[in-house]
């Protein structure tokens, strides 16, 4: 693999870009591995990378049924933030944000991380108070957060609807270090860096059966042959329940729901921030990509589904929310929209934990928030797999937390998966 640096860019500029090597290998699967991670999305690839990098584990495979980054890693709105309040969430997401801040250097790959600020609009004194509480809690824990009054907001984003919005904008809670990144770059960066540490990334390799013996997983049947791993990790959010049942483990506190995202035609620089709007049943978040397209999304489609395509009423809802705060984008045409299948958990929080099978580890339940979490998710999942002991940040992120009454319900929505947006 050729390293990206100024010298190599210069050299290849002179020789017609012929000196670059493949970014990652396409290895034939071996029959035995120390660790097999199922799921070649951001979480799986990051886990493999940190297993090799932080814990010196060798003989690692990442199995992906399609192509890497073709699932939810390529179906999100790329927002990165750490504005969480609850213990167990804020430390985790803050660490994730810190990893993002150095990720391009760490991976020697430009993930186009842009700390353009996450601007969470509020529309009532009550919302201002609750945001003040949340953002003050964040500050006490060392995360940045501030409140913008209406004048500051108008100065920064002059073209929001301050005139006749159904829910008047009165200010915003802002995290300046938040922003977004290029999703594909993050996938390719992790894949390339993991591969250079010897990780086998095996694409078009679907797990079709799981054989158990003496309480352990003995082998995996896949579309590319039978494989054995001393340790197996699931990182297949969206389809976790299917693998879980393949391993004969019963039910999970997870439902699969689909979430849509939308992209407009490209326009000149127009929106410098990630803007979020949520009031009166509407939910909307928008940013502008480097190509100029506006990338935005809203709520789930409100019913359980494994279909990776969205429904029309939600297109209308999201368009209405867009018009409510940014009427200036009304003439823009949508280029495409798509849906990803989310693991919606019963309290809106993820799972990184051991399982009833001693050599199986679970990474699941990412709800809306999987993209920004992926570096820390890989970091702590790798730590759990290598050390057999959950780090204190993820000590409650296990499947028994419901019967123990430790619900990590950031939104306070109760045990209804679709409500944890």
């Amino acid at each position: 693999m050729t390293k990206f640096n100024a010298w190599n860019v210069f050299k290849n500029g002179l020789n017609g870009q012929t000196g670059w090597s493949r970014q990652w290998r396409d290895p034939e699967p071996k029959s035995n591995y120390n660790v097999i991670i199922i799921g070649g999305g951001l979480h799986g690839l990051a886990t493999a990378y940190y297993l090799a990098k932080n814990h010196n584990v060798n003989k690692i495979a990442v199995l992906e049924k399609g192509w890497i980054g073709g699932g939810n890693a390529g179906r999100n709105t790329t927002i990165i933030r750490s504005n969480y309040m609850m213990s167990g969430s804020h430390e985790f997401y803050e660490h994730s944000l810190k990893l993002w801040e150095n990720l391009s250097h760490e991976l020697n790959y430009n993930v186009m991380f842009s700390q353009r600020a996450h601007v969470n609009l509020y529309h009532s004194p009550g919302a201002k108070d609750s945001n003040a509480r949340r953002y003050n809690t964040m500050r006490l824990h060392g995360t940045d957060g501030e409140l913008w009054d209406l004048n500051t907001l108008k100065k920064n984003i002059p073209h929001l609807n301050y005139n006749d919005a159904r829910f008047p904008i009165i200010g915003a809670a802002v995290q300046r270090r938040a922003g977004n990144a290029r999703h594909d770059s993050a996938v390719w960066g992790y894949a390339r860096a993991a591969d250079s540490l010897g990780v086998d990334i095996i694409q078009n390799c679907e797990v079709t059966g799981i054989t158990r013996k003496n309480g352990n997983i003995e082998s995996l049947q896949t579309s590319r042959g039978i494989m054995k791993g001393n340790k197996i990790g699931f990182a297949v959010a969206g389809n976790t329940s299917l693998l879980w049942q393949m391993a004969d483990l019963g039910n999970l506190p997870i439902e699969s729901h689909k979430l849509q995202a939308f992209v407009t035609e490209a326009v000149k620089p127009f929106l410098d921030h990630v803007v979020v709007y949520g009031v009166g049943g509407a939910h909307f978040y928008i940013s502008q990509s480097d190509k100029g397209s506006l990338v935005f999304g809203g709520d789930l489609d409100w019913y359980k589904s494994y279909a990776q395509r969205g429904n029309l009423p939600m297109v209308q809802d999201v368009a209405e929310a867009a018009m409510a705060i940014l009427p200036s984008i009304g003439r823009l045409r949508l280029l495409r929209h798509w849906a990803g299948v989310m693991d919606m958990s019963m309290d809106g929080t993820f799972f990184i934990c051991k399982t009833p099978i001693s050599n199986l580890y679970l990474n699941a339940g990412w709800n809306y928030g999987g993209f920004k979490a992926s570096p820390a998710s890989g970091w702590y999942f790798a730590d759990l797999i290598a050390n057999e002991q959950p780090h204190k940040y993820i000590q409650h992120h296990h499947l028994k937390r419901f019967e123990q009454g430790i619900n990590l319900d950031e939104r306070g929505a109760g045990p209804d998966p679709k409500l944890h947006g």
Partner: protein
Amino acid sequence: MIRIKCPYCGERDHSEFTYGGDASINYPSLDASEAEWTEAIFFRKNIKGFQKETWHHLNGCRMWLEVERSTITHEIKSVKPCHPDLQKLMELKK
């Protein structure tokens, strides 16, 4: 758009309804163990394929319906009122 045949109102867009959830859950008795209640409230089969689920015809007759729907294609096999007495009543009307 999913079209749901409400037994009372006829075929309507799913945007008139709200989604309830898994209709196959059997809630245990009040004095059942915590483990049984945890299982009923928090754990789901999360079926990929046809599942029984509830929908509320909120912007219609407000009846709760049990719908058999595919979670892959969204095709609906059957719709009936959740309440057994209403089921009987609807059959009498036919």
